[in-house]
Symmetry: C2
Subunit: 463 residues, 2 copies
């Protein structure tokens, strides 16, 4: 009987997060303010607490995880590393397919890995309330969960379309005691202005971000802050616990280095989480192919330029150096809502610019096909986001069979699809549309980059 699950005991949970920034061969370029000058950490103080800003700009490679955070993460971490033996058998591949099962978290995805530390650091800084936005609700539910456990209030601006049509994650937030309001709301200037112009709008993530930031920074008590679920350095940092656990577990399984590491990529946080410790191994000389997989309808890494761009449509955030489709880009309404972001996290972008990553993009129909094959062999139902990583894993396992190579593939099972069954229903009844970005749409959306400063494209190109 083969071991198909490699568990780490609680005592083996990683005690430090891994920060890729100082290990990158070419230093990252700084975020810029509206004046085109580098953003000073002080300027972020109304938005984030100083302890998280310090992590955001840190040049230390290893950052200690406080004991109190570890105790909360232990509720579901270390997550199991599992081997997809039934899928291997079905594909007749000599490859060994391992995956980190992040779906076992209380919110059902990798998001609590950063929600817990963000809530905890805010609490340490004396903050009483966190405000955030959410699309389909993955991030909002994770932050609701984390703030409740840490003891903070939580307010979530949820895009109205999801608030009305996908009420279940809203209900999860309420179970965890958060206040969830449909955005645009009449609680902020940003929301009221939009409602005046478009009373029947179903909202957008861009509007919800504006409302959440405004609500956080204008709290007269000064004890509210904003929280973001992806893109930023400190968010990616917290996710590295996924890859760090996987390194230990692969060693237990007798694997020195995986040959291939795969993660789906939207804002970049789950991909960074599984891959950055292996990017480090690659920088140190290991031969590893590292593959971020994005939707063909939102292909920032594979089709976008590396540019300075805002993180949001309203251009309230600093300019970040990243692969982007332009902040005015409106992605198709694919089921993988968590991958619908116009840009890619600056740290992931920097690694891609260095040539450390081999990004690819898949259409959602191919991904649902892969998800169904997964469900009918391995038995679990993956999130539509996760299905992108599964589709690439299947392609790589088939390639290994064709090449006759016993490769080790590791991917991140970032979340379950139990709240996304409508997408499966649409796919199985043949009604799921293909969705990819046309050259004309791309050209149009890239116009929003005109007039913005340009980053340097220098890179070492060692890979």
């Amino acid at each position: 009987m083969n071991e198909v699950k490699i568990n780490l005991p609680d005592s083996e949970i990683p005690r430090q997060w891994y920060n890729l920034a100082p290990d990158l061969p070419t230093p990252m370029q700084p975020p810029l303010g509206p004046d085109g000058k580098p953003v000073n950490p002080e300027m972020l103080k109304p938005v984030f607490p100083m302890n998280l800003i310090e992590q955001e700009v840190s040049r230390e490679t290893w950052i200690k995880i406080p004991e109190e955070i570890l105790e909360l993460l232990l509720k579901w971490r270390p997550t199991p590393l599992k081997r997809a033996v039934s899928l291997e058998r079905h594909l007749k591949t000599p490859a060994k397919i391992y995956y980190k099962d992040e779906s076992v978290s209380p919110a059902g995805s990798h998001k609590p890995n950063t929600a817990i530390p963000q809530a905890w650091y805010n609490k340490q800084a004396g903050i009483k309330k966190l405000v955030t936005e959410t699309g389909a609700g993955q991030w909002g539910s994770a932050l609701a969960f984390a703030t409740k456990l840490v003891g903070l209030e939580c307010k979530v601006f949820m895009v109205r379309a999801s608030f009305d049509q996908k009420p279940f994650r809203k209900m999860m937030m309420q179970v965890w005691g958060a206040t969830c309001v449909a955005s645009p709301s009449d609680e902020t200037n940003a929301g009221r202005e939009i409602l005046k112009k478009m009373p029947n709008t179903t909202g957008s993530l861009g509007i919800a971000i504006s409302e959440a930031v405004e609500a956080a920074v204008t709290d007269p008590t000064g004890s509210s802050r904003y929280s973001l679920g992806s893109v930023l350095n400190h968010v990616l940092l917290h996710q590295t616990i996924i890859g760090l656990e996987a390194q230990k577990q692969l060693k237990l399984a007798g694997v020195k280095h995986p040959d291939i590491v795969i993660g789906c990529a939207g804002g970049g946080s789950n991909f960074a989480g599984i891959s950055f410790p292996f990017v480090k191994e690659k920088i140190d000389g290991a031969k590893i192919e590292i593959i971020p997989v994005e939707p063909a309808s939102c292909p920032s890494l594979t089709k976008g330029p590396f540019a300075y761009d805002n993180g949001d449509i309203a251009q309230m955030t600093p300019l970040l150096p990243m692969y982007t489709l332009g902040h005015a880009f409106v992605p198709a309404s694919i089921h993988a809502g968590g991958l619908r972001y116009h840009g890619m996290a600056p740290l992931v972008s920097a690694a891609a610019l260095e040539g450390l990553l081999k990004p690819r993009a898949y259409d959602q129909v191919k991904c649902f096909e892969a998800a169904i094959l997964w469900s009918r062999t391995e038995g679990t139902i993956p999130a539509p986001e996760t299905s992108h990583a599964i589709a690439a894993t299947i392609d790589e396992a088939i390639k290994a069979r064709e090449e006759g190579k016993e490769k080790v593939i590791l991917f991140n099972y970032s979340g379950h699809g139990l709240m996304d069954l409508v997408g499966y229903d649409q796919f199985l009844s043949g009604k799921l549309p293909a969705a990819s970005l046309s050259e004309a749409e791309l050209k149009e959306s890239l116009k929003s980059l005109e007039g913005l400063p340009k980053p340097s494209l220098a890179k070492t190109g060692r890979w």
Copy 2:
């Protein structure tokens, strides 16, 4: 840092199921046919395969789990034994609260523990297709999952009310390739007759059972069989892997015997799963309080008589010796759909008759209160069924505090509530009705027992 999860390595998965029947001080009374005579195993052959019938009537204490079944169970088993440290702290209790997390299965509950072996034994017997019924869909989705992995076809008759109003578990079944039809359907005589009389009926579990059994036994190829998700001896047998794992895990945590074992009880399968290995410890002399918790609206163990009764409303099944509210009983439509059964599994009933169990019943409002406290301390959202076990656990932990005793409480976290958020929403908005059975309703429903044979009430009464 305390260990809050006790994992068993794959190699430590139990290799045998535990059969309580031969260890019961008073032998169980046999099921009876419509003629009042004991049912002969041969009579069940059109309904179940012989290998499962053998388990149903087995007098062996330990039954080997085939290697191929173990390999499939290993996809999620052994499940973690976790400690509810945040709840303990919140309650300021000296009790240690351990729970088996059965929500990690692909279908989200304990049901696959028997769905996998049932599918496998049918496959071994040359059966091609399993037919079953389902209410809210927990059992139907578990069997769809299991048949797909084993390689059988699956057909599920789903009560129309749930089919229309709770479509998500239907979608899960379809992801796993099962055919799911609303019951009553026009595919069976039973269904057609009901539809003729009541064209607009929303169905019932009783009708769906009749349709599933009919569809199985009338398949002209003879290669279909029926499958049941609770009540029967072989179903409970398969669930004992829960308690057997818990025994090993408690030993690893340094616990010789738990003081209290708790499970929610509807048909009895998850309760039997967690408790029977500890019932054995109790028979062998350990001092353990074993508590099945049922809904106040469906209180078979706490309010029903021990009687011979049919398993279904249509009186198609044999007469089973069990605590029952009468086969004509129609429970209130509480959210814990999995606990809405008029009878209690004969094996659980026999243990209760012996005085080995201390059953209690709770109203669903109390249970949702407990579930919210759990979600806001431990962080996960339990199924409404599971919330009954949690409510009893909280009561016992408070009692331990009042008595100043360091008790060890073990309960079964039988499933997650991610498909049951509407119940939470109703509770949080103050709209959840209390639901308990009145004496008048009980008296009325017990009339359906009139004229049936009576079982012996002899018992050793050692406890």
